[in-house]
């Protein structure tokens, strides 16, 4: 089993997680200068702090996954901002990083060409909602992993089919994230979040997400998330990569992980 855990950027957190379960933990790292979709401000650290933590995690024998899953980068990849990001990626990835989770085509090509040793996981923002999308990323583009949509993960018949046609090691599953089925606002939300987060507008992004959740409730849109028994079933099928996002404060998150990983 591989557990992809959001890293709270301090060594104390790393120690506590390792104490819960010393098997296959991969720490998801959020670096302030590299845009992601996570709205938990406490997860981000700056590049210098990140380097220090990466070295510490590596020293302990664990793996690191750099999060770079921004949904819309506003065409900045082809400007000086893109140049700055490439510079940062070079600096970070030379620290023997195991995985990077991305959404963007340009950065995918860059990492494939210049950092072949780093494994690329396609984020959930690549909208991997069907078998053909899995094929596109894993077989055509030779990605090293795909984070599939909950709609797929909940469909046991399809998950059996996927298992029989792809290596389960390459399939990644959200163990604690809620999405909505047939949600026409999803792209709007993701685009808006991308730009608010890149502009550092934390208050706006939180308001946006709260409003979105409220609206989904009002229209009775069905929440899609995996129940514990569904996760067990997926494990029995042979799926190995499960992600546990941090959507709360540090102590509560550690307690949640204790329940899940012990």
């Amino acid at each position: 089993m591989n557990y992809f855990i959001d890293l709270l950027p301090n060594k104390r957190f790393i120690e506590k997680i390792i104490n819960i379960n010393d098997s296959n933990i991969i720490f998801n790292m959020y670096i302030s200068q590299i845009p992601t979709m996570n709205i938990n401000k406490n997860l981000y650290c700056d590049i210098e702090n990140a380097k220090d933590l990466i070295l510490y995690i590596k020293e302990k024998g664990y793996r690191v996954n750099i999060m770079f899953d921004v949904f819309c980068f506003g065409n900045k990849e082809f400007t000086n901002k893109g140049k700055d990001i490439l510079y940062l990626l070079d600096k970070i990835l030379e620290l023997n990083i195991d995985y990077i989770t991305i959404t963007n085509n340009f950065f995918f090509n860059y990492i494939k060409r210049r950092h072949k040793e780093c494994k690329i996981i396609m984020s959930e923002y690549c909208e991997i909602t069907n078998v053909q999308k899995i094929t596109r990323f894993l077989e055509d583009l030779k990605a090293d992993g795909v984070k599939i949509d909950n709609v797929l993960a909940k469909n046991s018949e399809l998950m059996e089919y996927i298992k029989s046609h792809f290596d389960a090691d390459y399939i990644h599953i959200d163990a604690n994230k809620i999405t909505y089925e047939n949600d026409i606002y999803k792209d709007y939300l993701n685009n808006s979040m991308s730009h608010f987060l890149q502009d550092g507008k934390w208050e706006e992004v939180n308001k946006l997400v709260e409003k979105y959740k409220k609206e989904q409730k009002e229209v009775n849109n069905k929440e899609i998330f995996l129940e514990d028994n569904e996760i067990k079933q997926l494990v029995q099928m042979g799926y190995k990569n499960f992600w546990y996002y941090c959507n709360t404060e540090e102590e509560k998150y550690i307690n949640q992980l204790y329940e899940k990983l012990k």
Partner: protein
């Protein structure tokens, strides 16, 4: 059958459409740049004047059709909140001064805002919104859509098409001639790039180039059966969709020249095309140019040209034998077997592969050159960004 046709900046195109009395219900287009943007980058489209657009709208009305203004960039970087007043002013101006009849929108939030402010304006939901299920159709109906262009990834899923049309009351449009990559992994990213580039506030230091098209061109060069997997609708197959109840078909593209468009429109009006199907699919450049070889790029070519001027280095120029597709009753397989291609691997079916083997021809040198050239160009782009 009714058609929705593009405004490509050339009034002669619309004059010919008028003279030939084509069954046109809508003409779609937009200003070169505006606050929301559209589905095509500025670089790609002809830079026509606002006055030219006004004349196009007048001509559209003379034809007896409606003008559908494209306001369909998927991402507005939150300006639908920040610049709501400016957006409403622009739309008011488009209605009062330009006399538009309809708007295509990809962002449901924007649709909601505009519907509240302009309750009499018709709203068409863009293909960019990826409406691929009845449930999404019904959600868009609630928000106020008058028309929806369904996601092309379901055009051969006759079960879902039937379910959608039987259970909804909104109007539909199907995009007929896009030679896109089925379930393209980068479709959303592509729409975002194109959309931002066509917005007033976009001031990127590098000119836009269609980065995502490199992937689909390379993929098609590697596996020509991709050319059959793309869910275009042939002129000969329109009747299958009409039988379900779909009446309106959109022909693209705004980027194409008048001669190209007239050839494609004529094919759909006549419900047949003799020759190379890729002549009328918008992703290709074979019409009247089939015999031109795609050269291999050199370091010097890349040194002296901008990326934008290297386009002919990724022209695949395939030959898709349309008459053979007709003889093979190509679409019957999907109509009869009611397959959902999205959740099945092609290796379990092989129908498109087998069809491609007997209908598609791609010159090996062209294919190899396209693959090589695009690899070189991608490297050049990385170097350019890093400079």
């Amino acid at each position: 059958m009714y058609l929705s046709l593009p405004y490509n900046g050339d009034l002669e195109f619309l004059k010919t459409v008028k003279d030939r009395k084509y069954p046109v219900k809508t003409v779609y287009g937009k200003r070169f740049q505006d606050v929301i943007g559209g589905g095509r980058a500025r670089y790609d489209i002809a830079n026509y004047s606002d006055d030219n657009l006004k004349q196009a709208i007048e001509l559209t009305h003379e034809i007896g059709a409606e003008f559908n203004y494209l306001f369909n960039a998927p991402c507005s970087a939150n300006i639908e909140e920040k610049k709501q007043k400016e957006i409403i002013e622009q739309v008011k101006n488009l209605i009062e001064e330009y006399k538009i009849d309809m708007m295509t929108i990809a962002n449901p939030k924007l649709l909601k805002i505009l519907k509240e402010n302009f309750p009499n304006l018709k709203f068409s939901v863009s293909i960019i919104s990826k409406v691929d299920s009845l449930e999404k159709v019904l959600e868009y109906e609630k928000v106020g859509a008058t028309e929806i262009t369904l996601d092309y990834n379901i055009y051969r899923n006759f079960n879902e098409l039937k379910r959608i049309i039987k259970n909804s009351s909104v109007n539909f449009q199907l995009l007929a001639n896009d030679g896109y990559l089925f379930n393209c992994p980068w479709a959303t990213y592509h729409f975002q790039l194109e959309g931002h580039d066509s917005q007033d506030n976009y001031n990127g230091s590098l000119k836009y180039f269609s980065y995502c098209r490199f992937n689909c061109k390379q993929k098609s060069a590697q596996d020509p059966y991709e050319l059959i997997r793309g869910m275009w609708i042939r002129p000969e197959d329109i009747h299958y969709y009409e039988e379900l109840g779909f009446q309106k078909f959109k022909i693209i593209d705004r980027l194409k020249e008048t001669n190209w468009l007239l050839n494609a429109v004529e094919a759909y009006v006549n419900r047949q095309y003799k020759g190379n199907l890729s002549d009328i699919l918008c992703s290709f450049d074979t019409f009247e140019k089939e015999s031109v070889k795609t050269p291999q790029i050199t370091q010097n070519d890349m040194k002296v040209n901008t990326i934008q001027n290297l386009r002919h280095y990724w022209d695949l120029k395939p030959y898709i034998d349309n008459e053979k597709l007709t003889k093979l009753n190509f679409l019957d397989f999907f109509v009869k077997n009611k397959i959902d291609c999205r959740n099945k691997k092609c290796s379990d079916c092989m129908y498109c592969k087998n069809i491609a083997d007997v209908t598609v021809q791609v010159d090996n040198d062209n294919a190899n050159n396209v693959i090589y050239n695009l690899d070189s160009i991608k490297e050049k782009i990385i170097d350019t960004v890093k400079e």
